[in-house]
């Protein structure tokens, strides 16, 4: 609710920019906003306080899932010694993730978490890139999607920690050893809050980065409508193109950071001694 209204205040600013433009030249201004605001496409009833309506972001999340479900089995379904084309590109990514993240941070436990980490990476990167397609939207610029992904990560982290150390052992093991007895309750609260804050930042980072990219493009294009001049138009367009190129990089970087931090948090839960 909180971040929904925060996003609303941001989109109000965006709408002001566009309304200003509509007074002037108008056409096409609405398309700029498509990227940022989530529209409800099909209205569905509210069940137990949860609005089940299908929105633009929901549809593009399904599109991303469909792309992954169609492309990945087609590429990796048959076992081939020498992959070709797209298989080569995807295999390079998978090998990079496996060697750079999973083996590096999880070691011999990595095999069990590999499916989850690779799934999360490909889901996030597909969603991020869909936001750059004209007319598309990225579901990861919605706080509820990133929060859900983070909740799954939090569940994986706490569950794997509790599986290794036992339910009580995991929670008590979070307190560092060798501190005065008086400080133990305080340290326990701080460590639990720290665990939650880390995952909260994980959700906010992905959400903020994806929304910020779209808002930057929006405000650059909005400059044309503010100045109401064709002479100024080339500069925002060059700027928006440059931001678009940067967005491609950010799409991969944020997916990489999300998966990196996921495996770091899992490894921190598995190795509590340091």
């Amino acid at each position: 609710m909180l971040f929904g209204s925060a996003l609303n205040s941001i989109t109000t600013i965006a709408r002001l920019v566009v309304e200003e433009g509509e007074k002037g030249h108008g056409e096409g201004a609405g398309n700029v906003l498509e990227h940022v605001i989530d529209h409800t496409v099909i209205h569905l009833p509210t069940v137990l306080g949860v609005d089940l309506s299908i929105t633009y972001h929901t549809i593009f999340m399904w599109v991303a899932t469909a792309i992954l479900l169609l492309v990945l089995p087609a590429v990796f379904g048959k076992r081939r010694m020498i992959p070709s084309g797209l298989g080569n590109a995807l295999e390079a990514i998978v090998v990079f993730l496996r060697e750079d993240i999973i083996d590096n941070y999880l070691g011999k436990d990595g095999k069990r978490y590999e499916p989850y980490i690779l799934t999360v990476f490909f889901f996030i990167v597909t969603n991020n890139l869909l936001g750059l397609v004209p007319g598309g939207a990225s579901a990861t610029s919605d706080i509820s999607v990133t929060a859900t992904l983070t909740l799954i990560t939090l569940g994986t982290v706490t569950f794997s920690g509790m599986k290794k150390y036992g339910v009580i052992g995991f929670w008590t093991g979070m307190v560092p050893s060798g501190i005065p007895v008086v400080l133990i309750p305080l340290m326990f609260v701080i460590e639990v809050l720290g665990l939650l804050a880390k995952h909260f930042a994980l959700a906010m980072r992905l959400f903020a980065n994806m929304t910020a990219g779209h808002l930057t493009i929006l405000s650059l294009i909005g400059l044309i409508f503010i100045f109401k001049s064709y002479i100024i138009a080339p500069f925002p367009i060059i700027g928006a193109t440059a931001v678009g190129v940067l967005e491609i990089f950010v799409a991969f970087l944020q997916a990489y950071i999300f998966t990196l931090l996921t495996s770091v948090y899992i490894s921190m839960a598995l190795h509590q001694d340091h």
Partner: protein, 75 residues
């Protein structure tokens, strides 16, 4: 009315402070990492991984500060 204006002012100043801190931290981190890569190019992979991880930690603190600022503007 006045208290709302003060809250907006506080949010602006707070966001500026958080950004200054994060920029200083990430700048210092990146300069050290570049130094390390220049001295030892063969360790660039390890250094890059550690740099991104640490930058993400600094960014996390900055994001929490910015969320506090956003809460100031909407409450």
């Amino acid at each position: 009315m006045e208290s709302i204006a003060l809250a907006y002012l506080a949010a602006g100043i707070g966001a500026a402070g958080a950004v200054i801190g994060a920029a200083l931290g990430i700048g210092k981190l990146a300069s050290a990492a570049m130094d390390g890569i220049a001295r030892q190019p063969e360790a660039s992979g390890d250094i890059r991984g550690a740099m991104i991880l640490t930058a993400a930690m600094i960014e996390g603190v900055a994001i929490i500060a910015l969320v506090v600022c956003i809460m100031l503007t909407i409450k």
